[in-house]
């Protein structure tokens, strides 16, 4: 069997991943037409390239269907409870930086910390009769963070996109979302809480502990390891 390497199927994350490999003397290239999800790896033997949606990569790693995969730390931590039992962080790749943050409307001048958010949530629930809504797609990460901080009287509402618009649309009072520059938040009249950083994420090479690491896969790992300066064994 060969080593299966999963990389994002399109976009900036794919381009940066290909660049990163190129810097380490490994050529990762698409084959066929632009639209066809196929590719190959030159410079390391016994590698099969798998192009996947970045959001699918954690699942494929967990199932052991790929040996290595490039995805954001945010997605792995959100989608895999006890992630460190399932995957090993091989290397932080230094791109795809994004912070998962809690943001509130600019006009909430009284709320600048998580402590304020908790107090505002208590007051909001008393005034409105329901828990203060925080829109997010990172339910697990946000819940764990707020629970650890001892915040009460809030609820998470699901938002799979355009989360910054939920406050204006009156479907949430605050949001927890990924941001790289904060521009979209600012443009939507939202401000990050001073201690509202839940996670600093970046593109990361993960190795699956569930995949079958047979001789061929290990020898391919050795090829990567030599070029990229990784350890002798994947974990």
């Amino acid at each position: 069997m060969s080593l299966k390497l999963g990389i994002p199927s399109k976009g900036r994350l794919q381009d940066k991943t290909i660049d990163w490999f190129a810097q380490h003397g490994i050529t990762v290239q698409r084959t066929g037409s632009d639209r066809e999800y196929a590719g190959q790896v030159l410079g390391v033997d016994n590698v099969e390239l798998v192009l996947l949606s970045a959001g699918e990569i954690p699942k494929e790693l967990a199932a052991g269907r790929i040996h290595l995969g490039v995805t954001g730390t945010d997605l792995v931590r959100e989608k895999m409870p006890r992630w460190s039992d399932i995957v090993a962080e091989v290397e932080l790749l230094g791109f795809g930086h994004a912070d998962l943050v809690i943001a509130v409307p600019d006009c909430w001048v009284d709320v600048t910390t998580v402590d304020d958010l908790d107090a505002a949530a208590a007051q909001f629930r008393a005034d409105h009769g329901f828990r203060l809504r925080i829109a997010t797609k990172y339910h697990g990460l946000v819940r764990r963070y707020l629970s650890g901080e001892g915040v009460a009287d809030y609820q998470l509402v699901d938002s799979q996109g355009a989360t910054e618009g939920t406050v204006k649309n009156l479907t949430a009072e605050a949001i927890a979302d990924i941001t790289s520059t904060g521009d979209t938040l600012r443009a939507n009249g939202l401000r990050i809480l001073s201690d509202g950083l839940i996670l600093k994420s970046q593109a990361t090479m993960f190795a699956s502990k569930a995949a079958e690491w047979d001789a061929a896969a290990l020898s391919a790992w050795g090829g990567f390891a030599k070029n990229c300066g990784w350890a002798e064994k994947p974990f």
Binding site: C107, D110, T112, F124, G150, V151
Partner: protein
């Protein structure tokens, strides 16, 4: 093998259930699929992390029964006469992080009686203690009412007392609040800066300059909280003696009768502790009358603070020592506050507990 084990679990569950019935409890059944909104409103987001929530296009969000307490309280409040004793024996579902089965059995007993709280606490504890006698278990008791009374007795603003009370079940934030109120940590810089701006320009101007209003939380609500922050900033710190008293209360851990002595001593300086000490004395007497040895029974004020969020009075737990793989084997306590929330103002005095037959069977197997 698996079938054998199931049969053994069922046998234990049925025996426990029969014990509760013979003690006068009415066996009740509840739905397995419950409307999620009540449970979510009651327990908050934490329950979403633990319970299975599913969506029905017509009924909205539904939850697989995470415990029996809520449906039984609801049933009792709509149709029950008091005093009432109920027992149940069935499955609950909870997501488990440690690889334990998500579906497991609970056999429980709930007592609704407002005439004699000490007697009711003692009755429930003695019953559990009797049923679990013979198993190698460690018992701990506590009383959330002591900490709540200590908070209520603080010489500070109503708001500070309410904020501490609200976070009694969240130790991290409780300590942070107490340190702030006691003047041990300064308020956040951003808050000091805001209050300085407000003093200089007025709250309304500060708000106007902050950007276009948006969202459901109104400008009035923001102004109201600024006023609260101003009052809080002007309030005197909670005294060092009172902070120390709270810390002593939180750390109190002894045998029940010795803990009561300590509490009595503390009540001499802090009269707010007299009422919970009286209540504890009544309970210990009632327990002793039921042949519970209160001179050896372990007691911890902080017991149940994090794991049993809806209990607000007497609490107890039975665990298997050296079996960190097992959940709490049995636990229970008084939850008057929960009935107040569910009854929307109406409340009942409620105490109850639950046994996990799976854990009991595992303890037995380990002891063989």
């Amino acid at each position: 093998m698996k079938n054998d084990r199931r049969a053994r679990i069922k046998e234990v569950a049925d025996r426990l259930s029969a014990g509760f019935v013979s003690a006068g409890a009415l066996p009740v059944e509840t739905d397995s699929l419950l409307p999620a909104d009540v449970l979510l409103d009651l327990y908050g987001e934490d329950i979403r992390a633990r319970a299975y929530v599913t969506h029905d296009p017509l009924q909205g969000e539904q939850m697989l029964r995470p415990d029996f307490t809520v449906p039984i309280v609801q049933r009792h409040m709509s149709e029950g006469a008091e005093p009432a004793r109920y027992t149940y024996n069935g499955n609950v579902w909870r997501k488990q992080s440690g690889g334990r089965p998500a579906e497991f059995t609970q056999v429980g007993y709930e007592l609704f009686d407002r005439t004699d709280p000490a007697g009711a606490d003692a009755e429930v504890f003695a019953m559990f203690s009797g049923m679990l006698a013979g198993y190698p278990l460690k018992v701990t008791t506590g009383d959330m009412g002591i900490l709540l009374a200590a908070v209520d007795g603080l010489k500070t603003t109503d708001r500070r007392r309410a904020a501490l009370r609200r976070h009694v079940w969240r130790p991290v934030r409780f300590v942070r609040l107490l340190e702030r109120y006691g003047g041990m940590t300064p308020p956040p810089e951003t808050r000091t800066a805001l209050l300085a701006q407000v003093a200089e320009r007025g709250a309304e101007t500060v708000l106007e300059q902050a950007g276009t209003p948006q969202g459901l939380r109104s400008e009035q609500e923001v102004l109201a909280r600024i006023a609260v922050l101003q009052q809080d900033c002007a309030a005197a710190p909670v005294s060092a003696e009172e902070v120390q008293m709270l810390e002593q209360v939180l750390a109190l851990k002894d045998t029940s009768s010795a803990a009561l002595e300590t509490l009595r001593d503390m009540a001499a300086s802090f009269p707010a502790l007299k009422a919970p000490a009286d209540a504890m004395e009544d309970r210990l007497k009632a327990m002793a009358a039921r042949r519970v040895d209160v001179d050896t029974l372990p007691f911890e004020v902080s017991f149940g603070r994090t794991s049993m969020e809806y209990y607000d009075g007497f609490v107890f737990g039975f665990t298997a020592p050296d079996r960190t793989d097992l959940p709490v084997v049995a636990s229970g306590g008084r939850y008057d506050a929960l009935t107040r929330v569910l009854g929307q103002g109406r409340s009942i005095a409620a105490v109850g507990g639950v046994i996990r037959p799976e854990a009991l069977v595992a303890v037995q197997e380990g002891a063989l």
